[in-house]
């Protein structure tokens, strides 16, 4: 088969120049065309869509939908991988709700997710506005503040060990220099959770970039006309900046919440859930039950509680968004 520009002989006088290599062999193509109804543009569009979506359909079935269904079924069984699963009905769920450790893990997860997301949003918004209004070198600040976001996950956690470890950590060393004896942070039951929440400021860059982009796209005329009406700094922020940024804030609230509820590596590397379960968020609880105690059924049941709550919280945030999110163009997707 020729690959360069070719004049297709069958087209005769019209002599269409084909500048592409056909997606599939010509003989196969003829067969497919016959089967799917003609060589018109609509038919070709449907075929191409079908072909191009195939990887996603396969991946969705094998790596997402299949495991999702399997996990639901497993949650009604007792399964240790080596022996066949035993059907135990609601046993896992009954055990789960009777386990104070499970309820404790949920409490920590909600604190970590709620306070953590709020904290991230405030820090990101403040940083974005500071950078936006910076008179000098704002490009430099943008790059600098974004940079640790690329170190999220394991690198963030390893670097944060150097910051929050009580005996040699950066925080306590600095406190020491000004004469304050710092708390035990990640080695203390009382301070470990605040430490793993506080450390999240470091990777605030992604949210900051989204806010910066959104702030930059607010039309300047709005501020000018509001100023003519006598509005001052705080009012401008409250009545123009916040409403205009609210769609992006909504996206960030949802993404932040989902990611926080699933937190694992950042907490695990710093504390492994300790000391004394004081940072035992649900991600760690599931890991321990499923992969250390090899209780796949119970782990599945717990992870379904996580999935359900994630869904409910997302829907609640979306439902509430009608009250506080302002869409200028009236479209969302």
């Amino acid at each position: 088969m020729k690959t360069g520009p070719t004049v297709s002989a069958t087209d005769g006088a019209s002599a269409v120049v084909l500048r592409h290599r056909p997606l599939i062999g010509r003989r196969v193509r003829t067969l497919v065309l016959r089967a799917t109804g003609g060589d018109n543009l609509a038919g070709s569009r449907r075929r191409t869509a079908g072909l191009m979506l195939t990887p996603w359909v396969l991946g969705f079935a094998v790596f997402l939908l299949g495991p999702l269904v399997a996990s639901l079924i497993l949650s009604f069984t007792s399964y240790d991988v080596f022996n066949p699963p035993q059907w135990i009905g609601l046993g896992n769920y009954r055990e789960m709700f009777a386990d104070p450790e499970f309820l404790h893990a949920w409490k920590l997860t909600l604190i970590y997710g709620g306070l953590g997301t709020l904290y991230m949003l405030v820090v990101a918004l403040a940083t974005a506005l500071l950078i936006y209004h910076a008179r000098w070198v704002s490009g430099f600040w943008r790059v600098l503040y974004y940079f640790p976001a690329l170190l999220g996950g394991a690198s963030e956690a390893y670097v944060m060990i150097a910051v929050w470890t009580p005996n040699y950590g950066l925080v306590n060393s600095v406190l020491n220099m000004v004469g304050i004896q710092g708390p035990g942070w990640i080695d203390s039951q009382q301070w470990a959770l605040p430490a793993v929440i506080l450390m999240r400021y470091w990777t605030v860059g992604t949210l900051m970039l989204l806010f910066l982009g959104s702030r930059a796209s607010v039309p300047l005329e709005y501020y000018e006309s509001a100023r003519l009406d006598g509005a001052k700094g705080r009012q401008l922020f409250r009545h123009i900046t916040l409403p205009m940024m609210s769609p992006v804030i909504l996206v960030c609230v949802i993404l932040g919440f989902i990611a926080s509820l699933q937190a694992f590596a950042q907490v695990w590397i710093l504390t492994e859930g300790g000391p004394q379960y004081s940072t035992d968020v649900l991600g760690i609880y599931i890991y321990r039950e499923a992969f250390e105690n090899i209780r796949m059924g119970y782990g599945s049941a717990v992870s379904w509680s996580l999935f359900t709550v994630t869904l409910v919280i997302t829907l609640v945030i979306l439902a509430s968004s009608k009250r506080w999110v302002y869409y200028e163009h009236g479209d969302t997707l």
Binding site: P55, R135, Y146, L209, S214, A216, I258
Partner: protein, 304 residues
């Protein structure tokens, strides 16, 4: 949907001070920008500080380490901790494993996400909006829900302790967020460009290859960057799928070093490992940061 994004530096006139203040002269007009810069410098220290401190701990000799008070700068810098880290782990191997997994998974993600995003963006068919919502909703699935059955699946396939569980799923557009991100960016490309190809007798695949892909270099690059970094920093999946010392990735290697040489005095060794782990990321960031800055303007356009 397209909103022009002004660069923040051109925004200076917006924050001009009130007329009363400007009459008072240069000093009061400079107060706010200077305060802003001071806040940014202080914040910047909390961003850069931790990394510099990792270097400082990694360079400490045992004498420095036990010195009181614990200073911010080591008195007798030494590279002995790096030697210890090299002694307990096979760093070359760990790094090679990390890089192989990153490369295969990221290329797979870019290719498959782009291929899947195009029909969702452009080829209207029955249920295409529903499918987009479905793609987007896969983002909400906690990895923990999928992990247990996926683990069992990979055990049955004998894929555990190979790189396959960490790389193959990436070739099937399994990251809903990235697919959606590309779909949104493809929609921003003027239709006329594709129609020119179709009129010339090309098919949709040709339009995708010749128009959409070349015009989407920035979003495709962003997907590549995000996936590379996420894979490099992944701790959860590798810790479940990789067991033998020859197969571990960098973060697992540091964990292993922490367990092998436990005790308080191994902290400088762990920090030496952390530094070796983070340096490629920092270089990568310096290499690609221009794409990410373009991405700001892009995300402004999409979300606007």
């Amino acid at each position: 949907v397209t909103v022009a994004v002004r660069s923040p530096s051109s925004e200076v006139p917006v924050v001009r001070s009130r007329p009363a203040a400007s009459r008072r002269g240069l000093r009061s007009r400079l107060t706010r920008p200077v305060l802003g810069q001071i806040a940014l410098i202080l914040g910047g220290l909390t961003i850069v500080g931790p990394l510099l401190y990792v270097i400082s701990v990694a360079l400490r000799s045992p004498g420095d380490y036990f010195a009181q008070p614990y200073g911010l700068i080591p008195r007798h810098p030494t590279i002995v901790n790096f030697r210890s880290f090299f002694a307990v782990t096979d760093v070359g191997r760990l790094m090679l494993n990390s890089i192989i997994i990153c490369a295969v998974a990221s290329v797979g993600t870019v290719v498959s996400s782009a291929v899947v995003a195009y029909p969702l963006a452009r080829l209207r068919f029955r249920g295409s909006t529903l499918l987009t919502v479905l793609v987007l909703s896969t983002m909400m699935l906690p990895p923990q829900v999928l992990l247990i059955p996926q683990y069992i699946l990979f055990v049955k396939l004998h894929w555990v302790d190979t790189f396959l569980p960490l790389t193959i799923p990436a070739w099937f557009a399994t990251n809903g967020f990235l697919v959606f991100f590309l779909r949104q960016s493809f929609r921003g490309i003027p239709r006329e460009m594709e129609e020119a190809v179709l009129v010339d007798g090309g098919n949709y695949w040709c339009a995708f290859r010749r128009v959409i892909v070349p015009m989407s270099r920035t979003p495709l690059m962003i997907v590549l960057i995000l996936q590379t970094v996420a894979t490099y920093n992944d701790f959860f999946a590798p810790s479940i799928y990789l067991h033998s010392p020859n197969n571990l990735t960098m973060p697992l290697g540091i964990e292993l070093a922490a367990q092998t040489a436990s005790g308080m005095e191994n902290a400088p060794v762990i920090m030496a490992g952390t530094l070796i782990y983070v340096i490629p990321l920092v270089l990568f960031f310096l290499l690609v940061q221009k794409w990410l800055v373009r991405g700001v303007q892009f995300s402004g356009a999409v979300k606007g």
